[in-house]
């Protein structure tokens, strides 16, 4: 029983971070039908940004989000204006061109990190890194709890923006039907820029949070990119709640396998890849398949 509680608590805590990480990918996909392979690079840069703020200026990793989020929001908008917007827009589904373009961006970001911070493994140590508390009879690290709290907070703020503000409603409108949104007077191009900014900011924030728990190199982020894909494939991306649920399922599975079987940790990573492939196959058209159940009537004429 105690073990079950432990798995549940640990999964819940991990799920908060996973959801933040995945949402960055989901919002960009939703608004632009682009799979952002640079996501992994942004996660990594977020981690290094926090590392630098921490080691140079002694800034607390959690507080560094106040700098990281706006900076990367701006960076995302620049990335959109400078590169992504220049691609020909495809009407049906994501294009392989955008995927490869952002793959190129990922490589460049990686090289940038090697040039600035070298390839050495880095980690962030704070006063509370090694401390822990007992939650429901389960001992968990303070960083894990703090990361969970920040993740939940950021998702709640996001939920509020999406539900209550004009910007959020416009983002949802473009996600559901770009053409109809434009007819209603939404500037889809501007909304895309903002969505790319939000997606980038969420990815960087997730990277900052990851940096408090894991060691990282410029190659960091690949397995988390796959985890994010896995989550949004499982969950679809109709809502923040859906992404959170997908995140919880993946975290539960990982913790369950980690706790009850003797698989080595390196093989544990393969779990999300397996789940990803199974998930993709279960929705044969991937995210679009899950998505178009909601909007099938809309996509058909575009295809013909």
């Amino acid at each position: 029983m105690k073990e079950v509680v432990a798995v549940a608590v640990n999964s819940l805590l991990a799920a908060g971070l996973y959801a933040t990480m995945s949402y960055g990918l989901a919002v960009i996909y939703g608004v632009m039908r682009i799979i952002n392979l640079a996501h992994a690079g942004i996660l990594m840069l977020g981690a290094y940004a926090t590392f630098t703020l921490n080691s140079r200026f002694g800034m607390d990793p959690i507080l560094s989000l106040a700098v990281v989020i706006p900076v990367f929001f701006g960076f995302g908008i620049l990335l959109y204006l400078g590169l992504v917007r220049r691609l020909p827009r495809s009407s049906s589904g994501p294009s392989i061109e955008s995927l490869l373009l952002l793959f190129g961006v990922w490589l460049v970001l990686q090289n940038l990190a090697y040039a600035i911070w070298s390839g050495d493994t880095q980690s962030i140590l704070t006063r509370y890194t090694m401390k822990s508390v007992v939650l429901l009879g389960v001992r968990v690290g303070i960083p894990t709890v703090a990361v969970f709290a920040v993740s939940v907070l950021s998702l709640l703020v996001l939920q509020w923006i999406l539900r209550k503000t004009y910007l959020g409603r416009a983002i949802r409108a473009v996600t559901e039907n770009r053409d109809a949104a434009m007819i209603s007077g939404v500037n889809a191009d501007r909304i895309s820029a903002v969505a790319f900014g939000i997606g980038t900011a969420f990815a960087a924030a997730a990277g900052s949070l990851l940096a408090t728990m894991y060691a990282f190199t410029p190659d960091f982020g690949r397995s988390f990119l796959l985890k994010s894909f896995c989550i949004i494939v499982l969950a679809g991306m109709e809502s923040v709640a859906g992404v959170a649920a997908g995140a919880f399922v993946l975290a539960l599975l990982e913790n369950f396998v980690g706790g009850y079987t003797s698989l080595p940790t390196s093989f544990q990573d393969a779990l999300s890849f397996t789940l990803l492939v199974v998930g993709l196959v279960a929705f044969p058209q991937g995210i679009v398949g899950a998505f178009s159940r909601f909007s099938r009537s809309r996509r058909r004429p575009g295809r013909a």
Partner: protein
């Protein structure tokens, strides 16, 4: 069409004769460079069959190089003649391509690409975890299995044959079916193309070719490890060479391989450049996607078009 094929055949034959005669005129260093370019041509042309012609971009091809290299190394260590292991490599890789392809080919476009990232990551993790790969210390081929001229000839013959095969497929009904799948998979299905069958077939074919190249890689380098066969730069350039050269064409991957072969040589000789290869590769990918998705070959056609157009303008009465 027929005339173009005749010309191509002539070029191929000339290239083969020149390459096989090269050891008489060049030093070992130059031959090594040619070997590297031939290796790149094989990888790029084979990948292009699936990624370019059929439009299924896979980032998981290093797995097939690994299968080829390890099959050859392990069987040679068990007493086989290195060249007798080539068919086994090809068969094993084709079999593995079915294992990968059966589930993932149900996915379309970018979703297939993402699934292949997962596959390659899983293969890399497993390969460094199991013991028969020799772990991080690698495997050494048995003594006496190395003969540079023989290995050089095998590589250039394979390269020229793969390009010829690519040209033949391009002109065949098989190639037409693959192009149809790339352009519109629904329309292709509606016209009676069994897309899954064709994708599996071309995947198996290109996987087998890449595995044989991996075998020759093991024979020539005499030492392999998960780090050398699953090298990120290698798996990256398999994808980038055809894209930069010109996706879905015969000449594009060859052009890309020449460029990357040249870059590889430059990279090895200059530490500053070696530290920025990701920047170089990523930047090239960005530029190609933004300005010329048809790659260098597309650029060439566009430039030639511009030249003939401006030529026409100076002679308005022509025709």
């Amino acid at each position: 069409m027929r005339k173009g094929q005749g010309r191509l055949l002539a070029i191929e034959a000339a290239a083969l004769v020149l390459l096989l005669a090269a050891p008489r005129f060049f030093e070992r260093g130059t031959l090594n460079d040619i070997w590297n370019v031939a290796f790149a041509v094989i990888l790029a042309s084979a990948w292009n069959l699936l990624g370019g012609l059929a439009g299924q971009v896979s980032i998981g091809y290093s797995a097939f190089i690994g299968i080829g290299a390890y099959t050859t190394a392990l069987l040679s260590l068990a007493g086989w003649h290195p060249y007798a292991t080539l068919p086994v490599s090809a068969l094993l890789a084709a079999a593995f391509s079915f294992v990968v392809g059966l589930p993932t080919f149900r996915l379309r476009g970018p979703y297939f690409t993402i699934a292949t990232i997962g596959v390659s990551e899983a293969v890399r993790v497993v390969a460094s975890g199991v013991s028969f790969t020799g772990g991080s210390s690698g495997l050494r081929m048995p003594a006496g299995s190395f003969h540079f001229l023989r290995d050089y000839s095998a590589m250039v013959i394979l390269a020229v044959s793969v390009v010829a095969l690519a040209a033949w497929i391009q002109a065949s009904r098989f190639g037409a079916a693959l192009r149809a799948i790339r352009q519109d998979i629904d329309a292709a299905e509606a016209l009676g193309v069994n897309s899954t069958k064709y994708k599996l077939l071309v995947h198996a074919l290109s996987a087998a070719i890449v595995a044989v190249a991996g075998s020759l890689f093991a024979i020539n380098f005499q030492y392999i490890s998960p780090n050398s066969v699953f090298d990120f730069r290698l798996s990256l350039s398999i994808v980038l060479m055809p894209i930069v050269g010109g996706l879905g064409t015969v000449a594009g991957p060859v052009l890309g391989a020449l460029l990357f072969g040249y870059l590889q040589i430059k990279l090895l000789s200059s530490p500053a450049l070696r530290d920025s290869y990701l920047f170089l590769y990523g930047g090239m990918l960005i530029l190609v996607m933004l300005f010329e998705p048809k790659g260098l070959l597309g650029l060439y056609h566009r430039l030639r078009g511009a030249v003939t157009r401006s030529g026409a303008r100076t002679v308005p009465d022509a025709g």
